[in-house]
Assembly symmetry: C3
């Protein structure tokens, strides 16, 4: 079976945000898949998707701190600054973290590690809502291919 | 349907290059897919694939500047330098940026954000042409599975 | 055809390790696939999967040195340090390198470049064994879809 849908994630403040529940709610089709893959794709160049710890919120804070230090604003070599000091760093962070994640689906649920969650990384100060395309594929639990 | 093909991207100078059009021309099979995924894989350890802004060329220049600064040449801790000062930095950049990208196909076209394009990142001073494997899978628009 | 299996990679010391052979041995189903994709997913937030050079071991040593320098221990801005100095750096490295890799399967084998191999990157001092989910999909060589 294949299922694909595009939906919006509500605007988040700059930083790393756990969105596993928001994602799972958006794609109830997950429950129909016995064995497959979920592919998530964010249609933006200044916000990213990644997977990391789903428990302690200080992990997300430390990730934001680290990326701000190692992808600084106002670097002397930036030429692209039309939209402000957070513009070019957002593009670099997006390349480092990536615009897609994919993960196994097993027995009707995401097969993540016990400590893993899906993150939306908002790199802009005012990012607005973000569009995500979810693509689900796999063997149907009912064996009735769509 | 499944389609897989291997093709070469012409030699590019060191830096970040927008190759969306080159990719789309190489895989006309895209038009046959109603709902699916494109997977691109570069068969090299010193050139990368990523997705970022498709408009202002200064984004690509700033990315090259940033990665050159944060993955420096001649770092004192490099032991692998057989092929010159650009050798080990190229491997590190490849790990940071990745050797594959995947993205949704919807209604016969890549379903990218309006500002997104596919980049080939050439990390060597003299990289030569680069081999890419494109794998397309999805539901056929004609519903005639290959 | 689809095949999915979960298996453990034996404990490795901190650093970058070539595991291509271990992976291929774990999934003999590869040989059945004419044209497809292999997706590998590590169910942890402090060990990563990536692809890089399969020959000279100094590449792996230099990668470890580089990531240790640019994702330092004891950074003043870390708040998450419950499990020691290697705790938060491990999460950051995991975000930078990623928890999944995917690659083409062609004619019953991984279609990697001649110099490419699969790495397990162990970011913890005492990481223990690591769980990986392998998902194989593609056209069967026998054309008998599972």
């Amino acid at each position: 079976m294949w299922a694909q849908k595009e939906f919006e994630i509500s605007a988040k403040k700059r930083g790393f945000h756990l969105i596993t529940d928001e994602i799972v709610r958006a794609i109830p089709e997950l429950r129909l898949v016995d064995c497959g893959l979920l592919h998530l794709f964010i249609k933006h160049t200044s916000a990213s998707l990644t997977i990391n710890e789903n428990a302690d919120p200080t992990v997300r804070q430390d990730l934001e701190s680290h990326f701000n230090k190692f992808v600084p604003e106002k670097a002397s070599y930036y030429r692209h600054d039309y939209e402000g000091d957070d513009d070019m760093p957002a593009h670099i962070k997006n390349c480092l973290l990536g615009c897609s994640v994919s993960m196994p689906i097993t027995n009707g649920a995401l097969n993540l590690g016990i400590w893993q969650g899906i993150y939306l990384c908002e790199h802009r100060n005012q990012g607005g809502h973000r569009s995500i395309v979810a693509t689900i594929q796999g063997l149907s639990r009912m064996r009735t291919d769509e």
